[in-house]
Amino acid sequence: MTDGRAKARLQVLALLVVLMFSALTVRLWYLQVLATDEFKAEAEGNYVRLVETPTIRGQIFTADGQPIVENRPSLEIRVQRDRLGDDAEAVTSRLTKLLGLPPATIRKAMNDVRYYDYQPVPVAIDVPKRAVAYIGEHRRLFPGVTWEDVAVRKYPLGELAAHVLGWTSPVFAEDLERLRGKGYDPNDVIGRGGLEQQYERWLRGQEGFVKYEVNAAGEQMGVLGEKQPVPGDDLVISIDSELQAAAEESLDLGMEEARNVVDENGRYLRADAGAVVVMNPETGAIEATVSRPSFDPDEFVGGIDQERFDRLVDEDRGAPLFNRVTQGQYAPGSTFKPFIALSALRNGVASTGQYYPCPASYRVPEDTSGTVFHNWSSVTQGPYDIAGSLAQSCDTIYYDWGYKFYQRYYPTKDAKDPSEPLQRDLRQFGFERSTGVDLPTESVGNIPDDAWVQDLFDAREAFSDFMIPGEFIQMSIGQGGVLATPLQTATAYSMIANGGKCVVPHLGLEVRDQSTQAGKVVKPINPKCSRDLPYSHSELEYVKQGLVDVIRSGTAAQTFAGFGGSIAGKTGTSQKEKEQDFSWFAAMTPVADPQHVIVAVVEHGGHGSETAAPIVRRVVEHIDGVDASDIVIGSATD
């Protein structure tokens, strides 16, 4: 009986249904055809979870096979601060109680500004298992607190060579910015300072991961894929652990003895800091490197807070973290003389056959102001040839050579082309240049020249904007504006020792793969340089002979009395206004074919022959395998 009107009304219903289907189909078309890639990606993000597999950082071995930096397992507590919410205080006090640490320690870690809030900040290491179990059972009391079995650094040789090792720490916010794209994530550890930083690329290793399939509850349903972690490579360094120990002991003893010595003003020498470096002049391999005061690298394990770190770099405390071998810039004093002598020879300022008077004082011939430059000795000596000038360390001879270099410089000054042959020659020995040592920070020192004076003048620290005679005179005995690091000095002496070959000091010997076959060398390290020196063999041998005379009959003769080995060296006493002298000694052994160059510096250590020379003697005795003699403070000669 369905009438026509009902049929028409049914069409309304049918039309509504058609509209419904249209709406649904259009939306499905959008979701499943047009936008499907987006949703597929979201679905994948849903069910695939990447879990990182930690890698293990490479170890560091000494040349004689001793592990000097190892890993040890530790249970670490970390806090992700953005998960703490309003409970930060409560969680801090709970952790304090649980871990038995001072509240300040934990609070400091939690407030460390070096990390992003979402980064897990290490709060404590070597946490007992029982504490972690407690946190695990009371998750709600510890929001944002996680724990991890981590590998931390271990130093089986204690403080030995602490200054070159560096340390590791979690990456900071600034590192994440800087190293974007290099595969660092907020959980990673990075090498800082020293070899850890320098060889980060090899030591680091690569994290692996496991791709898990997870369900909505976050439970792992299966493994989708896996990448094994690649352990970091091991680093072998040129440090000889026994020689290093001997050098450290010698410096310590030498400084200790020096503190019993009275200076010319009647005060005990402070001898509060120093450095020793031993390197192979042929290869540049650094066999020992000591800096005092020192620190315990173990302090850095588990993270070091800013306050403790500041203490390690506080100059009033001697800046223990500061590596004086590469960063200590000192006036080299008379250890500089061989290079002045060689430049004088090269430039015709001096010649081997000639003898030069050695008065007690020197005046610049044209100077009317009456400035007097004194020799270290108050009696007239000489005359000496070049070798003799080195052996007796006669300052006044060098003053005159310095003045002659000034005379060469001065006439060309106005021509705006100051020829500076002395400075050029000194730079060729590596002064005022980076030695290229494989450490992240190195000071380059200074050689006074026209540009330097102009800079000083611009900064209103100099009265003239060009070099005056006094600068050359001071430079000739390694004073004035001259600054050099112990390592630069050792490198320069190496060039005399090895017959004029340029050499790059280095600590790394080789990088070894610890994952594949044991000890496979991934990368041998032998840096080369190609700027050999323009000195003849006989010129260098002649200077070397002068250094032999230093030991035999010169300024260090008393120090080396009874010494049975073969050694050449040079004393140095660098003066600083209102401070005690710095004691220097640079040496090479054996003389015929030097295998070791040794440089020692003791700040406020008095004369070179007094403190630094006995230290070097003891190191060389260790090298020669003879019983080390007691440190006997030498005579007060230069």
Partner: protein, 387 residues
């Protein structure tokens, strides 16, 4: 004789309703139910995998099969008895439904997740709200088919609305917002086909909205009741949860792409990211594992189902049949649209199952019963007709 006997037999056969069964409708319903079984299996496999030791992934499939079997028997039973008896007993069905809806609120009913919706016996649950929809359709059709005027007067419309409000409120307080919406759709659908004037419907709609707002504003309903109700569809407190459900459902559908990720291979489905997946969100399984092709295929089956229902309404020999069929068509249409719409993000999240496909014994039973009613109308579209 032969000829006469033959022709009288032929006439008898012509009059036999079974000859006029609508196979297309049954096949469409059967295909939807079968697809449902496959999708329920896929959706539940993950639950079993979810550390549920001893859970049979096919247990819900088996229960659903039982529902289908009972539903098929009821369908045949309902189809055999002339549907005009439904008109006679419409008032009784209605009263019985109201009675069950009241009873389910008593301790005899079971409370699941805060909703008092089910009677439970022997591992099976019976939801009176489902069958209420059919009782409602019968009552409305019976009432309105008695109106002889070509168009409905306001009083007829109001009577129909009044009859609907009683079960609607009872369902609403369970709470079951979804079924309330379906009941509204049914009454609107039947009224439209029965000739209600548009302005009446609009006026009633406006009054209903005003009343609903007033009831909440004046605090006629107690605070905790409001909370209980609102928590179900638009609660701020559960907004994150609802958004999560919707997002996961959309991801599942979208990740399916054109052809799907393969049966039992959907990660959203297998790894349980989509909630309530064997019931209200069953469409996501089809969408993820069979893609656009599968989703549209399912919609096509619904299209066939609705086309046949509307066609039966159209062909019915009397107004009662027309209205019953129109009511059933409205019921299925709104359920399909709201369910799929909420899964793909164009409708709000309400708990409405997808007819024939979603897991649920009473629902499949009710829907098969509705198929039986439609078949009944279809088969008897010639009988008793004045020639």
């Amino acid at each position: 004789m032969d000829l006469v006997a033959g022709s009288s037999r032929a006439l008898a056969a012509e009059r036999q309703p079974i000859r006029h069964i609508d196979l297309t409708l049954v096949v469409a319903a059967g295909l939807l139910a079968s697809a449902g079984l496959a999708l329920i299996f896929s959706a539940n496999r993950s639950l079993a995998g979810l550390g549920g030791i001893g859970i049979d992934p096919a247990s819900n499939v088996k229960k659903q099969l039982v529902g289908i079997a009972i539903g098929a028997i009821l369908m045949i039973l309902v189809a055999t008895v002339d549907y005009r008896f439904l008109k006679v007993y419409a008032g009784f069905f209605y009263a019985a439904a109201i009675g069950m809806l009241i009873l389910v609120q008593s301790p005899l009913g079971t409370n699941v997740n805060g909703a008092q919706r089910w009677f439970e016996f022997g591992g099976f649950q019976f939801s009176p709200a489902e069958v209420t929809k059919l009782a409602m359709i019968c009552l409305l059709a019976a009432m309105l088919s008695e109106v002889k005027a070509p168009d409905l007067e306001l009083v007829d419309v109001l009577k129909a609305v009044a009859a609907t409000i009683v079960p609607m409120v009872l369902v609403f307080i369970q709470p079951d917002i979804g079924t309330s919406i379906v009941l509204i759709a049914i009454v609107v659908g039947v009224l439209v086909v029965a000739g209600a004037r548009a302005r009446h419907l609009v006026a009633i709609g406006l009054v209903a909205i005003a009343l609903a707002i007033g009831v909440f504003q004046l605090g006629v309903i107690k605070e905790y009741q409001v909370q209980r109700l609102t928590a179900f569809w638009d609660s701020e407190s559960d907004l994150a949860g609802a958004n999560y459900n919707r997002d996961q459902a959309e991801i599942a559908i979208g990740a399916g792409g054109l052809t799907g990720r393969g049966y039992l291979s959907g990660t959203q489905t297998n790894l349980d990211f989509v909630p309530e997946q064997h019931t209200d969100f069953i469409f996501t399984v089809a969408g993820e594992e069979f893609g656009f092709v599968g989703s549209v295929g399912l919609l096509v089956l619904f299209g066939v189902l609705l086309w046949r229902a509307i066609r039966i309404s159209y062909l019915s020999k009397d107004a009662f049949g027309t209205y019953v069929a129109a009511g059933i068509a409205s019921m299925w249409a709104i359920q399909m649209f709201v369910n799929v719409g909420m899964v793909i993000g164009i409708m709000p999240i309400t708990g409405i199952p997808l007819p024939f496909v979603s897991y649920g014994g009473t629902a499949i039973l009710t829907n098969l019963l509705a198929v039986g009613m439609l078949e009944n109308i279809h088969m008897r579209r010639f009988t008793g007709r004045p020639r």
